[in-house]
């Protein structure tokens, strides 16, 4: 019991404390690829400290939504963290409280609050960003649903801890054509959902071209810090789902001993760093898509995911 709680806290701490580092590494690597030096990998921590210390300003006409949204955005990735295998490959406390579809719904709550708060702030760019995010979101939705359905075909379950075991027992599942198709589709969705490059430019500062970031323009001080941190954690959580549940379910702790958990922390962080290297390669080689081409990007993801499903059903 106490062990399980300790492991849950370790999972939360892993996501909470290391997610800004991953964001920092990603930025730094991208700058290095562009032959620049780039900010320190610790820059996101400094940003957060700075923002927490600042005064907060709230638009006069905004409602409670605007004040509540940052907290929701901050807490939601932490709730999802409890449902997924972050460090252990045996189920913890809340493992059966919600499946992957449930985690998707929980993320939808934060998306809804963010959208409403962006409109509530009264900034025209906020409303524009909100509508664009919704566009990307509803185009990504079918892909996520089909990926999860295919996963449930393979593993007869949508509980992440059970799915994870099915890719490696037997190992043939891991090499199945449907698996690699699924991974590509899900990777494309991660890029779209976290506002990475072919879809949205995370370093862009031009309001008219922003998709994700313009929603946060009106937030300041602590709210801005919470939203930023929530964004880092969302990226970390989606990467962990991608890596630990779908791609490489290796390197997780199989017992609750502190040594095992420590090794798992290092290995999972290493896996995320490798994923970051791949994302850097993708981001450095693609230009941002025009807004109405995003539908093509996600249509491609959709077709890949449906191909995966057909391939799986026909047992190819």
């Amino acid at each position: 019991m106490i062990q399980s709680i300790a492991l849950n806290i370790a999972q939360l701490a892993f996501v909470l404390l290391l997610s800004p580092l991953f964001a920092g590494v990603l930025t730094r690597c991208k700058e290095i690829v562009q032959s620049k030096r780039g900010p320190s990998v610790l820059q996101p921590y400094r940003d957060l400290r700075k923002l927490f210390a600042k005064n907060e300003r709230i638009p006069e006409d905004s409602s409670w939504l605007f004040r509540a949204a940052p907290y929701v955005i901050f807490i939601v990735p932490l709730i999802v963290t409890l449902l997924i295998p972050v460090l252990t490959n045996f189920p913890l406390f809340f493992a059966f409280a919600g499946d992957m579809l449930g985690a998707g719904f929980i993320f939808a709550i934060s998306g809804m609050f963010f959208t409403l708060a962006a409109i509530d702030g009264g900034n025209p760019y906020g409303a524009m960003g909100a509508s664009r995010t919704r566009m990307v979101g509803f185009l990504a939705e079918p892909v996520i649903i089909i990926v999860l359905f295919t996963v449930s075909f393979v593993a007869s379950s949508t509980i992440p801890y059970i799915v994870q075991q099915h890719w490696v027992h037997p190992l043939a599942n891991f090499f199945a054509p449907s698996h690699v198709l699924l991974l590509i589709a899900f990777f494309m969705v991660i890029l779209a959902e976290t506002g990475r490059l072919p879809v949205d430019n995370p370093t862009g500062h031009f309001e008219l071209a922003m998709i994700d970031e313009s929603k946060a323009l009106e937030f300041s001080g602590r709210s801005a810090a919470l939203i930023k941190w929530g964004g880092y954690m969302k990226f970390a959580v989606l990467s962990i789902v991608f890596l630990n549940v779908l791609t490489t379910p290796w390197g997780l702790a199989s017992s609750a001993s502190p040594a095992d958990v420590a090794i798992a922390v290092a290995l999972v962080a290493l896996k995320i760093l490798i994923l970051i290297a791949i994302i850097v390669a993708v981001e450095s080689s693609y230009a941002k898509l025009r807004l109405f081409r995003i539908s093509e990007f996600l249509a491609a993801a959709f077709v890949v995911s449906v191909t995966a499903m057909i391939t799986e059903i026909l047992h190819l």
Binding site: A172, F175, A176, I184, A300, F302, T307, I310, L316
Partner: protein, 221 residues
């Protein structure tokens, strides 16, 4: 050992079908060609894997021929012979818009799988998945041919269809007569050579290689 070969082959097949679908949606000739190279490498990989156990000289020969002619000579020929400048990076037009193309590609993949089921049952074969994926990729290659309006991507569509046919073929007839291997070694680069030359001349005369634009007669420059 054999089990591992089958598993790796399945992985290669998944990537093969992806690369074929990707070919229908890329907007640049350069990217299209890169995908073709990847596809050829995957075909060679599948031939090597299927040829490894039980050992088959023919499949190894096919893999080598594919590697040399399709992954090296053809891209090189096309690079050297087709027009220079931004020809490779400029955006291509398509007969049908990309989301529709993708949906058609999905339908064709499904149809390919369905057709192949009969063939899988009818013919003794090494790997049923090869036949299904090969058929699906064959139909998607046909789609590339149909939706592209430029000469070089259309040629790549034909070559993609050929790759797909071989992918299915190596599972049905692992012991090709040598003549088939020689045919792809000489025929296909020749085809690429001729089309590339034609493209070059057409580009110099007309300023475009869009097939639709070449339908009307026009005086020289």
């Amino acid at each position: 050992m054999t089990q591992l070969v089958i598993e790796l082959n399945a992985l290669v097949l998944g990537l093969f079908i992806i690369s074929t679908i990707a070919m229908t949606v890329t907007r640049q000739i350069g990217a299209c060609m890169l995908i073709f190279v990847v596809q050829s490498l995957l075909l060679a990989a599948s031939a090597f894997l299927l040829g490894a156990s039980p050992f088959s000289w023919h499949l190894f020969a096919l893999g080598c021929v594919t590697l040399i002619s399709k992954a090296m000579i053809i891209p090189w020929l096309l690079r050297v012979l087709t027009p220079k400048g931004n020809y490779y990076r400029r955006e291509l037009s398509q007969a049908i818009d990309i989301p529709t193309t993708l949906l058609i590609a999905l339908g064709l993949t499904f149809a390919g799988y369905a057709f192949a089921q009969h063939l899988v049952r009818a013919a003794p074969n090494l790997s049923p998945a090869n036949i299904s994926m090969g058929f699906a990729a064959l139909l998607v290659g046909l789609l590339v041919l149909a939706v592209r309006t430029e000469a070089v991507p259309q040629l790549l569509g034909i070559l993609a269809m050929e790759n797909a046919a071989f992918l299915a073929g190596i599972a049905i007839a692992p012991d090709f007569p040598l003549i088939a291997e020689l045919a792809i070694a000489f025929d296909v680069p020749l085809l690429a050579f001729i089309v590339a030359l034609l493209t070059r001349i057409a580009y110099r005369q007309v300023g475009t290689t869009e097939v639709g634009a070449l339908a009307a007669l026009r005086e020289g420059p």
